[in-house]
Structure formats: structure tokens, C-alpha cells
């Protein structure tokens, strides 16, 4: 059973993405296959060079980079949203593959979770 965890909100403004990331980490901890998708405004999680110390928050860029160590299978990024937010896939902070969000894309996963 392969789960897709979706992050579709901006980093730092709220805690949804962090708590979604925790879900991905726990699936990985129990060796359940899990993929992370950054959709819509969520692609800004992948913007390189974040420095959140003036907000007294941890850098989601750094937290996220632990994903592959913990066994998250893949990071995917919404192709249209990358363009919208002027991000090119070769400049992202993590290696994430561009994805077209078609109905068939979602059907590859047994479960899709977004907070």
C-alpha cells in the first residue's frame, strides 16, 4: 500500500505542511511506501536558500532534506505550480520530479492524504 502525502500550503505561515511531513516520516518509520507531493503554493517548500531563524522557526528546507534518509520514496512537484511560482526543477532545494497532476497520476497511489 503506497500513500501519497500532499503539501499544498505555503511554508512558515501555518503548521499544516510540518504536520503532513510528520505523517510521511511515520509511514517511512514503519517501512510503508510513501511519496511526498508539493502541489500549488506548496511548491515553495522546495525554494532553495530558506533562512527562517528570524522567524524563530526551523527551516523546512532542512527538515525536509531528512525525508530520503528516513525512507520517503520520492519527492514530486506540481509542474504547473512550479511555473506559476517561477521555480525551475533544476534549482529546487531537493531533487524533486516534475509531475502533471492528472487523474491517472493520483490513481497510482492507494491512499492520498492532504491536511
Amino acid at each position: 500500500m503506497h500513500t501519497l502525502i500532499v503539501i499544498d500550503r505555503l511554508p512558515y505561515g501555518d503548521w499544516h505542511g510540518r504536520e503532513a511531513l510528520d505523517m510521511a516520516f511515520s509511514l517511512a518509520a514503519f517501512d510503508r511506501p510513501v511519496t511526498l507531493l508539493f502541489r500549488g503554493a506548496g511548491v515553495n517548500w522546495l525554494r532553495p536558500g530558506q533562512s527562517a531563524d528570524q522567524l524563530s522557526q526551523k527551516s523546512v528546507e532542512r527538515n525536509l532534506s531528512a525525508a530520503t534518509i528516513f525512507g520517503v520514496s520520492a519527492l514530486l512537484a506540481d509542474k504547473a505550480a512550479l511555473r506559476q511560482y517561477r521555480l525551475s526543477s533544476d534549482q529546487l532545494s531537493q531533487s524533486a520530479s516534475e509531475t502533471d497532476l492528472t487523474p491517472a497520476f493520483y490513481k497510482q497511489f492507494d491512499a492520498v492524504v492532504v491536511l
Binding site: D22, F25, A28, A29, S59, N63, I69, F70
Partner: protein, 107 residues
């Protein structure tokens, strides 16, 4: 004997991570009757490096084992090896000695 003992919480974790030093680690370990060897220091260094790089400690014991496995291979990245070095819950014991925050018990 002058033992550096910075302020710690009720479970023995440092209140202020900046006060950590190798001699602090030796003393915290001694409380649990652990004599730190090169094998221990290898894991302590790995954990501290991990925290510096990712700004989190491994959020569960399972992920602690995975993180060690990822970097040092299967012989060290398994729960029996880590349990022998850091008895109890290895992630918790090792984080305490390495001066990292108390894990949330999330998993």
C-alpha cells in the same frame, strides 16, 4: 572532582543545547553506567551532525536506526547494536548523551 553539570530537565536532557561538551556527555553517560567508547562517540557525532544538518533529531527510535543505517551501514544501523551501546530506548538515551532535545514520543 569537578564535573560539569549544566542545568537539565527531569529526564536528564540538557535545558540548553549550547552547554554540551564531550565531558558533559561522559558525565551524563556515567549516570546510566555507560562508559563511552569509540563506538559510542561515532553514534554521538552522527546524531549531532544529523541535528545540525536537518534541525531535527530522528523523531522515533525506528527513524534513529534508519538514520544510522543510512550513514554507517547495516552492521551498525540495527536496533540490537544500538541497544547494546545505548540501553533502554536507544534514540532517547543517545539523544540525552549527545545533548539533543528530548524526543516527543511521537511514534
Amino acid at each position: 572532582m569537578a564535573m560539569p553539570v549544566p542545568q537539565r530537565n527531569n529526564e536528564g536532557f540538557l535545558e540548553n543545547a549550547d552547554e554540551w561538551s564531550p565531558s558533559v556527555a561522559i558525565n551524563i553517560a556515567a549516570e546510566s553506567e555507560i562508559l563511552l567508547t569509540g563506538k559510542h562517540w561515532e553514534i554521538i557525532e552522527l546524531l549531532r551532525q544529523f541535528y545540525k544538518q536537518y534541525e531535527i533529531s530522528p523523531p522515533s527510535n525506528r527513524l534513529f536506526v534508519k538514520a544510522v543505517k543510512e550513514q554507517l551501514g547495516e552492521i551498525k544501523g540495527n536496533s540490537i547494536y544500538l541497544m547494546q551501546l545505548f540501553p533502554g530506548t536507544p534514540a532517547k538515551t543517545a539523544c540525552r548523551i549527545a545533548g539533543l532535545p528530548r524526543p516527543t514520543n511521537c511514534l
